[in-house]
Each structure stands twice: as C-alpha cells, then as structure tokens.
C-alpha cells in the first residue's frame, strides 16, 4: 500500500498471482527423486466465497465446468467458511492436475474474485501420511505443510521439504506466513 492509500484509509485488494503454479511439475520430479514422495493426484483450490448473487452465479459456472469433467471435482466447506474445490484424479499426471487447477483459478479471477483466492494445496505421499505443498496466491510463493495429528505439524519435515525443493519453487521466505490448513482435503 502506498502512502496515499494509507492516508486516505483505502485498501487495494491484493492481486492473485497464478503463474508460479506451473512450476510445480518440476518440483514434483525433485520430490520423488529426493524423498520418494509421489503426487497423490489430489489438488484443491481454497477460496473465500462472497455473499450475494454475483458469487452464486459464478458458482454455477464452476459447477458446469466441473460437471463437464465427469465429476472429477468436489466442493467442501471448512470450519472457517472457506470453500475447497478439490480435484481428485490420476496420480501419474501432475501436469494435467496443475492445468485443471489453473482453469478453476482463472475462471474465478475472470469473474473478479481474484482477491478471494486464498491458496492451492497439492498433496504428496510416500505411502505414509500425506504431506502438502501450499501455494499462496497473494505472495506467489509456496510452502510445505506436514500435519502429524490433531493440530500438530512436523516442522523439521517441513524444513527438509523446503531444502529439497528450494531451487524448483519460490519458497515463502517469511516462516510466519506458513499458516496451517488443518483438515484440508487430501490431508
């Protein structure tokens, strides 16, 4: 925010940055080679649904989009009132997953709901409990999230993941922004 916006008490909604999502397939290769983590095929987009007909109309559009894809998608609502649009598909094709998630993002942004996009979550697993990579739209950065039980996370594993994929993805440098997404789909 500029000085003028501060003085006038205005907020410009933060723009969503969709581009770095496409860096994921490269990181997936590194993850599999380095830590044996494979994509589970589950990815989700988290969005803050606005009230009113504007968003409801958009939801119909997204529903149609999703239905056209043979119900690969489900929509769940979490305890914070955010919607998770989840795509569960072929675990092998991460490129396809990223493309699908981008379609959802782009249609939301085109309708003026870019500021409502919170994060995208893509899960990986090595046969054990899944780990997540979270993409923050407003920062255009990624961070790992490893839940280990009810509201507990494995920080050392997260830092290990960060070290592994640090050269493939833009990792969020500010650790205080690695906020947990407990109970997110696929985790």
């Amino acid at each position: 925010m500029g000085l003028l916006d501060t003085i006038l008490g205005r907020t410009k909604p933060a723009k969503a940055d969709l581009d770095d999502l496409f860096a994921l397939p490269g990181a997936a290769v590194t993850l599999e080679a380095g830590l044996g983590l494979k994509p589970t095929g589950t990815g989700s987009v988290c969005v803050k649904p606005a009230e009113g007909q504007g968003f409801a109309g958009l939801r119909e559009q997204v529903d149609q989009l999703l239905a056209a894809d043979n119900d690969k998608y489900t929509e769940t609502k979490d305890a914070f009132g955010f919607s998770w649009i989840t795509r569960e598909g072929d675990a092998g094709d991460i490129q396809d997953l990223v493309g699908d998630l981008h379609t959802v993002n782009a249609s939301l942004e085109d309708a003026g709901f870019g500021p409502a996009l919170l994060c995208t979550l893509i899960t990986f697993s090595d046969g054990g409990p899944p780990v997540g990579l979270v993409y923050l739209y407003k920062r255009g950065t990624w961070y790992p999230f490893v839940p280990t039980g009810k509201e507990q996370r494995d920080n050392s594993r997260e830092l290990q993941l960060k070290a592994t994929i640090g050269s493939d993805l833009k990792i969020e440098p500010d650790l205080s922004r690695w906020f947990p997404v407990w109970g997110a789909p696929g985790l």
């Binding site: 205005r10 909604p13 933060a14 009113g52 007909q53 870019g114 500021p115 407003k138």
Partner: protein, 308 residues
C-alpha cells in the same frame, strides 16, 4: 490484464476525509503562525506533549493490551482465532499481527500497534461467545484494516495539537489558581492573570476545534475500515450482523462497566485516543450504527450484481 474488482471506490468518503485532514492541517498552520506572530514560546509544553504521544504511539500495543487485560495467545491456545487471522492475512497479503484475548464479558475487539509488524489484534471472550465464526471474521477483518491503514499513527498525529492545547489549558488553569490563591496584588500580576486567561481561552478554543475534527476523522477511518474489511471477506452482511449484535449488547451494559473497561480514555486528556480502535466502546468516535449498516448494505448490493 488489470485485476477486476467488484467494488467501486467511494469518492465521497475519500473527499470528506481529505477535507477533515485539510482542516486539521489548517489548524496546525494557524496555531504555529499565531505562536510565531505573538512570540509565544510553548517549547516546554510541546516537548511534554511530544514525549507523551510518542510513548503512547510507541507502546500503543502494550498499553492497550494492559488496559483491556488482554493476553497474547499462541496458536495452540486459540486455534480458531489464529486460524481466522491467518487466513485473512493470507488473503490480504499482510504480515500476521499478534493475537490476544481479553478475558472480559464485554463484547469488543480492538487493533493497535504503531505499524503492521508490531500490531496486536485483540478480541474479548465476550465477543467470541456472542458471535458466530463468520461474524467474528468480519470483526477481525475490520480490525486488520485499521492495522493496514496505520490508523494508530494517523490518529496520533491528528490528535497531537489537541493534546498540546489540553496541556496548556491545564497549566494555565493551575497557574491561575495558584497565582490567585496566594493573594499577591500588583500590576504585573494583574497583567499576568489577564495573559493566563487569554492563553486559556485560546487553548480551550483550539482544543475544542481539534477535538471535533479528530472525532470526525476517527469516524471516517471507521467507515473506511468497515469498507476495507467487507471488501476483504466479501461478506458485508456478516459484519453488519456482528455490529448489530455487539451494539445491542453494549447499550444494555451499565455505564460504570464501560468506564471500567476504558481506563486509558479517562487517564489521558486527549480526544479520540490512539490507544486502540475498538469496534464499539467509544460511540462518539464511531459513526452511528445506521450509517455503518447503510454502507455495508450498499456494498452487499454491489456484490449481488451478476458477473459482468
């Protein structure tokens, strides 16, 4: 591609706020000009006021927390509250402030701190008990907007002159009282007494004008925070319903309880103190409920329009 926004700017609000700030600036200029023209030296008072306000500004987070009995909580202690703040900060792309809870049944929330990296957002147990998750989120996004707009800094600056005038009034009052009390009678003292009376009159006048202007500015800042908060969550109606619940509850609580909750406003002598922007406790620094609801209804209507 330019990002599309579903909200149109409120030029009227911006214009009114700019005009109020212009008047405050004008008052500063007028006072300084008068000081220079009449060779009045109030350096001592200026230093005291500057020190007081700086302390208040610099320690605003700790003082407001202490005043409200707030306690900073970890994510483990208050997962829901932290979860809401986490998500709002990620949506707005701002650093996460500290999160605190005040153990009082008065429904209230405030944000304070000199800049976004030193900010605290505090909710009382009363407000968390009364509001549902969506309404609480609306209230917290209003408070986070205060942080983003740096309202503590803006209001501290705006209320500086009022504080100076208030201090001078007090000094003049005491010196007049003691001067008269000892009953010394000569021409010089009579002159001095007249001078003290003039200083007192002028400073009372400056104080009143500054008081009214800062209150007006504070109300515009509140409307701006409502607006930005609703813009962030996309749910103006949730904030509206929270306001209705909180103000309805507030008005039923006896005055004495309210005063007990605001020791800092009694303690300091300035209007519209920058000690924290509570959502409901200082009615006069806040616009009327009707005005706030009206603005939120307008925003809700804008959201209701079909996708262009």
């Amino acid at each position: 591609m330019a990002p599309k926004s579903r909200f149109t700017a409120d030029r009227g609000l911006v214009a009114r706020m700019t005009f109020t700030m212009f008047l405050i600036g004008l008052l500063y200029v007028a006072v300084i000009a008068a000081l220079i023209a009449y060779h009045v030296s109030i350096g001592f008072v200026l230093v005291i006021a500057a020190v007081l306000l700086f302390v208040q500004y610099y320690y605003s987070d700790k003082m407001a927390l202490y005043g409200m009995g707030g306690r900073i909580v970890t994510p483990e202690e208050a997962p829901e509250l932290h979860g809401i703040v986490d998500r709002l900060c990620a949506l707005a792309d701002m650093p996460k402030p500290k999160v605190a809870i005040a153990d009082t049944d008065i429904p209230n929330a405030f944000a304070t701190g000199r800049n976004p990296s030193n900010a605290v957002v505090c909710a009382t147990t009363g407000i968390m008990r009364r509001l549902n998750a969506e309404e609480l989120e609306g209230v917290l996004s209003h408070e986070l907007s205060h942080v983003a707009h740096r309202d503590v800094a803006v209001m501290t600056f705006a209320s500086f002159l009022g504080m100076v005038a208030g201090l001078i009034t007090r000094f003049a009052f005491y010196s007049g009282m003691f001067g008269g009390g000892y009953g010394r009678r000569n021409d010089r003292d009579n002159n001095g007494a007249a001078m003290v009376a003039v200083i007192m009159l002028v400073s009372v006048l400056v104080y009143v004008i500054s008081f009214l202007l800062t209150r007006a500015l504070s109300r515009y800042r509140e409307l701006s925070a409502d607006r930005s908060g609703a813009l962030l969550t996309g749910r103006p109606s949730a904030l509206a319903s929270a306001l209705q619940k909180v103000t309805g509850d507030m008005s039923r609580i006896p005055t004495r309880d309210l005063r007990a909750a605001e020791p800092f406003n009694a303690f300091f002598f300035t209007p519209a103190l920058a000690n924290g922007f509570s959502i409901s406790s200082l009615f006069s620094t806040h616009p009327s409920l009707e005005k706030r609801l009206e603005q939120l209804a307008k925003l809700s209507k804008q959201l209701g329009q079909p996708v262009a």
